[in-house]
Symmetry: C2
């Protein structure tokens, strides 16, 4: 079934059938004839032919570092919902944390296939900047702020500051488990937020009380172990993510310490597992899903020609639970 056959059956030219689907410059009479034929045949225009002809694919490329992470899958859920609403399809590229693949996909998508790109970023190098600059389609960065590009990101600094403020009430010897400082959002900004809270609380800070971790719960577990082997008497631990906090919490409890009486713990992100954990984890809720929707909307705007690079900073909400001492 192609447009020619439909045209023949409806007794019109194929241009009219095309108009029926597009501009709509068709008389009521022919419109009816065409509709009838379409219903009978179940005809759908070929997306490939449309793509070739119009240079629009109605597909968006979404590049992510890892799909099985709660924060990322929540963002993807938001992107997916917003794109579906707008009639776009989502081309998913999971780089499994390989920077090189991120660049490859950026190039692949740009050359072909998609009308726009959403990049969920962790570490953005100069290479990334160059690749982004060379893009022929609009792009939005999600999860990181990047000067000069449209991006949607969390208020990592203030979120961490609030979480840490809550953590530190009644604490004397704070510690911190963070991630690589090359990740400006989760690594650097959250650490800064924590340090600022320490300063405001008038507490001493010693770099020995900082431990760097990977993103997994197991990483958090080991980081806590390392941290306490150096500083056995910490009484509060800030963790850059909930997942890390969960691992840390496990180790701390196993070491015989009580949470929050001996050691208070907070995370950032408010993941499901943190809510189930006992004691339930005090955390900062980040609107990951909404940020995904926001990124998609921003991209759609960009694709319609609004060429000004815009930034959206998301809000947050402190969730005080049982892993900290006070009411925040």
């Amino acid at each position: 079934m192609n447009i020619n056959e439909i045209a023949k059956l409806a007794g019109v030219s194929r241009a009219t059938v095309s108009r029926y689907f597009n501009d709509g410059y068709v008389s009521e009479e022919k419109r009816r004839q065409i509709r009838r034929v379409i219903e009978e045949t179940g005809y759908k225009p070929s997306a490939q032919a449309q793509m070739l002809r119009t240079k629009k694919t109605r597909q968006i490329g979404v590049i992510i570092p890892k799909i099985n992470s709660e924060s990322i899958s929540r963002m993807v859920a938001g992107i997916s919902a917003a794109l579906k609403e707008a009639g776009f399809l989502l081309l998913l590229a999971d780089t499994e944390n390989r920077e090189k693949e991120e660049l490859d996909y950026l190039k692949l998508f740009s050359e072909n296939q998609v009308d726009g790109i959403i990049l969920i970023g962790t570490i953005l190098t100069t290479e990334h900047r160059r690749a982004l600059k060379g893009l022929t389609v609009p792009a939005v960065i999600l999860g990181q702020r990047l000067e000069g590009y449209s991006c949607v990101y969390q208020d990592d600094y203030r979120a961490a500051l609030e979480a840490a403020r809550c953590l530190l009430s009644g604490a004397k010897r704070p510690g911190c488990i963070g991630v690589t400082q090359r990740d400006l959002a989760v690594g650097k900004a959250r650490r800064r937020g924590f340090l600022e809270a320490v300063r405001r609380a008038g507490l001493e800070w010693d770099e020995g009380a900082y431990s760097e971790s990977g993103f997994g719960a197991e990483d958090g577990y080991r980081a806590a172990e390392r941290l306490f082997s150096r500083k056995p008497d910490l009484d509060a631990v800030f963790c850059a993510t909930d997942t890390i906090a969960l691992g840390a919490l496990s180790w701390i409890q196993e070491s015989g310490r009580r949470v929050p009486e001996d050691v208070a713990v907070v995370g950032v992100g408010d993941t499901v597992s943190g809510r189930i954990m006992r004691p339930a984890l005090t955390s900062v809720h980040l609107y990951y899903k909404t940020s995904g929707q926001e990124a998609a909307r921003l991209l759609l705007e960009l694709m319609e020609g609004s060429d000004s690079a815009r930034e959206v900073k998301m809000g947050f909400r402190l969730e005080v639970r049982r892993s900290t001492r006070s009411e925040g």
Copy 2:
């Protein structure tokens, strides 16, 4: 940049350039000229034109009920890895648990856009069967067994049986939290496995000790509450998934019961949060990611014409941890 310009620059016909990329019937001399021009210009053939011409999109549609679920995102990770290796792109359709959308996407993908479909199923109705039957491209069902279709699924019955066997050693009054029986894999098969273990253990069974839950941890929490309000003296609870088990575990501990001394608990699926939970959750590891890869491979075979519907049943591995009494 299109094939015509490349042909002109290389001093050959566009047919030769096309052959350069495809069959390869090109003399070494022209091959060199073409390669040079391609490198200089960075030319890439238009995917859209290729799609239109060849009727192949090199894109696979993946339909999932929900992206932010650990089991599903692990499957998607596997699919993604296998497809990338084979040079296919992944078109993601998240139905957010709406059956209707599942059918819509099945239709959309079939009419257009993709060379094959992977459907991560939960509930498969007669409508699904009809939609699958009407497909014009090969499809693989992941996570459910469906007679007459290629599918990759977990050994839910035996996995549940093993988990339950471990749970029941030393138990007298078992309970069960399951999901809707319309989900043949997670609902029905796992429940059957549990019941068989009860039978083999020579224990009494009373339907009052069964409670039905949604898929979330909060659902498991409430299901446990309902279950124990009816049967306060249960000493072992089987949960259809780890997520449910985590919720149940929380409620049980909060109710003042000790795990596993007063009540033993098992889940199925071996999710990260179950490993971190204290006590760590005894569970059955299911190879979700591998099953995703397997589904993708099966689909690729199908697309190459191997038209026999094949079934792959995945293995499992019992993970005995601290939420149960014995060594399994």
